[in-house]
Amino acid sequence: MSFQEYRESFWLGVKDMLPLLSGVLPFGLITGANGIALGLSPEQVFGMTMLFFAGSAQLAAYQLIQDNAAFVVIVLTTVVINLRFAIYSATMAPTLHPLKKRYRWPLAYMLTDQSYGLCSSPERQSAGLPERVWYYFGGAIVMCSFWVMAVLLGVAVGASIPPEWSLEFSIPLAFLAMLVGTVRNRTLLLVAVASGAFAVLLRPLPLNMGFIAAVMIGVGVGHVASKLRRRGADLYE
């Protein structure tokens, strides 16, 4: 699996990740700036960023630290918000598990929403193992370094970015564009609609539980629908 051989896959991963960075920049700036506003030292914000490597969990932790929440509550919230990584981990397992531990662990550390979004597309999943690994690595390393730089920039710039630009809104838009790529048939469309609708309805649930519940409902609906469809096909045979 030498770099020379799979250079193309690596650079394709880098290239595909670049447009996603525009949405990450404001998120990183906000994460950096908010940490300073909260009274953390630049070292603490940097350390937190490296240890978490998860923006939404970091922002949630800020909020709870500010609210003087209990230690256990902050830890639990972080885990719940990051539970989605277990889903990503399952999707990436066939690609990353065969690697040696010294590659597998750092690559698992770099797993993000964006990397998952890129690598879970059917087109990507059908590529050979080394191509998939190098493609993932290309995207993940760009994402990883850009995220840390964006947070540090946020630490330096502080809160002087006009909030009325609402640049953070480009994050859900990026996920929406990725979503379109994964919807290849009617069952998957049904899954997306159910999951999205329930995520909105269950938003008020505490600890971000609505997110996990909506994903489970969406998958459940899709599972039942594909079973019914298969049974329907049997009837006509």
Partner: protein, 106 residues
Amino acid sequence: MSDMTLWLLFAICGLLTFSIRLSFVQLHGHLAKHLERVQPVLALLPPAVLAALCIPPIVLNSHSAAVDWLQVMAGLVTLLLAVRFKSIIWPILGGMCVLWAGRYFL
């Protein structure tokens, strides 16, 4: 919270987050049989996760938690452009332009 407690908090949260990321990647060999059985379900996960991630912050206003029609419009434009273009930069730019134009003119 004292500095020491904060660092302990960051370390524990970081360790747990890494463990979640590593979970299936590490145990894949032992779970291979089960994974095969749940493969049809796994195939349903990407649209479910991505929809649950993006629909609420587009539909609901982050301050008022009410339906924000301008953001919904921006999302629709992004959706249409995403069907048309393969790169995701145009859908994002299109959606952001709707948001900015809407805020400016409305």
